[in-house]
Symmetry: C3
Subunit: 255 residues, 3 copies
């Protein structure tokens, strides 16, 4: 029953990033056996990685990477490291634990453009896949498309593999999402049309309606982040059109 | 502390159907050991069954059926099969995997009455428990009580064991639910009064408030579907009145 | 990266109470290995404890207590026992199963002050940690601060270790929360200022925004209840400021 046209792993576009808010080792193993083929990145949400016992953290990282999945600690953690002027130590520690990717963001603090570019370059040099993030976390901060476009271009020049469009854990009142979690499509289109390509963008879209809108807009191989681990299979079904919500669209495209 | 008057398994009314959006094998085993007595049907949500490795799927099906629970793939999947004119192959494959039930719905596509009746009869002949579904998925499609009543009667005549009243995964803006997930009670009463009995209806009711309203309206042995696997025990507590929300009602009935 | 000033276990303030709506044994083990240090109380939600097989329940209780965590059955269950005039039998049974704490509440039924005081004293005498609860469950019942203050003081005099401020499972339309789950801060301040100290209060706060407001108001060692098991690590990150939402606050305090 092949429907849609979905890339297989390893893939550089159409990636799925899940947010892990504290899965146990058994749960992680279970998830990977079930859905490892549909996951490309695991983010240990917030600063939770600092709260693990070392052995548990190392075992989790091994489990994940052995399935061909990249794993990285949440960006807030790195912001703390930059604030405390310990970026190099932080990156070394992350590599020692086995993390394969790093998120660089300014969700909370301000990073000057040179600091940001230097952090990206440093992490990339060490061998990390670098994901950066655009879009302030605070709903009171404005989301300026022109600034965002500039940032995306600069981050990729600096060595980022992906730029994440912030949607937070909740998917509401942030970045491109209004307070009900609806995508502001005109902002999205402006962003998309100001970029040469959008293949390096990962859209944080925790809500099903958001994932659906993105798949309808960009096709099955749009990159989506902050996915709930328990909904990986459901998202994959949505991508390939095995779900009422996108089946109509897939059928219409095939006509 | 016996409260309420709840039927034990195997039971034909008062069934609980859970929606499995991608539980791992360990999680499934865990759930069945804990709450197997309170589950009658497992639906593999959407088309997720197509996304499993074959061995994982077979093991999951064995696990579930060994606990005296019926299991079936989501209806959207069957709609695809009908669209591609592969219903017989689909049913044969489902039986080979070990599925014991089949859902026949027209959530996305239109099924003519004869096609629908034939599909029900074909599945029942093969030995499946057949569940059909009424209520369009698209919130823009009208929900006509008279049509629904007709469909329920016809489906049962054709061989369906249960007719599911669509509530979707979200429980909002569909069928008998308004956009906030509240039951439209007047529609519900009209539906109920147009049928001789409601024992073969399964109400999709993912939200606790919905489950509560149905239990208060119909008693502990109302059949409820699209239950979150992690809330099976909570639903059972609600049924038997071991929960603040229904305790008052149970107590009042005992007076 | 020590941030914030969080008490370690065993601690009497800053406790985290999770609501278990039906975790399997494997899931429980997994959670405790991951986050046992960040959990102080496990509540078996509603009357779910009555729905377990005895062996499963005993094993769960052993697992939890072996991690230095208290465990108790939901309060609704005890209300049933009082209603049926079986409190002593109920407490004896709870002790035999291995429960180490008891919740005494009048979420559904009315308890006269002497009955309530006697129940608290009886449970404390047997050796249970006693948690009481204030704030009616029914959103139509008024939440009177003066009454609450009186009740808190009386319960602690009677032998309660903690008084829980009711927030329900949903965190909405109850107690100090309005229908959107926002804390009514003026009520909260009135409550706090009428008490000598708030160290024995546990705030039921299932939603992240609620947890965040409480941490910003009271600091990292505020006691929080009805936490989703999958969000224990996320809450702990919020407490210590490893999360964008509270990082700003922690940074400002350190200035």
């Amino acid at each position: 029953f092949p429907l849609g046209n979905r890339y297989q792993k390893p893939r550089s576009t159409g990636v799925t990033m899940i947010i892990d808010k504290g899965l146990g080792l058994g749960e992680t193993r279970d998830l990977l056996n079930l859905a490892g083929d549909y996951i490309d990145f695991v983010k240990l949400g917030f600063g939770t990685s600092a709260l693990y016992f070392n052995e548990v953290l190392e075992e989790k990282i091994n489990l994940v990477t052995s399935h061909g999945i990249d794993i990285y600690p949440g960006g807030t953690f790195l912001e703390v490291a930059i604030l405390q002027d310990k970026l190099r130590e932080y990156l070394a520690m992350a590599r020692d634990f086995g993390f394969t990717a790093i998120e660089i963001s300014d969700g909370t603090i301000e990073l000057s453009p040179p600091t940001r570019a230097a952090a990206i370059a440093m992490a990339a040099d060490i061998g990390f896949k670098v994901l950066t993030e655009v879009g302030k976390k605070d709903p009171n901060d404005a989301f300026e498309i022109k600034e965002i476009v500039q940032l995306v271009k600069q981050d990729i020049l600096s060595g980022a593999s992906y730029v994440i469009v912030e949607g937070r854990e909740s998917g509401k009142s942030v970045g491109l999402y209004d307070q009900d979690g609806n995508l502001r499509m005109s902002d999205l289109e402006e962003l998309v049309h100001s970029l040469d390509n959008t293949e390096q963008l990962i859209w944080e879209a925790p809500m099903k309606e958001q994932q659906q809108e993105l798949i309808i807009r960009f096709g099955p191989n749009v990159s989506i982040g902050n996915v709930n681990p328990h909904e990986v299979l459901a998202l994959e079904a949505l991508r390939v059109g095995l779900r009422a919500d996108t089946l109509k669209t897939v059928l219409q495209r095939q006509k």
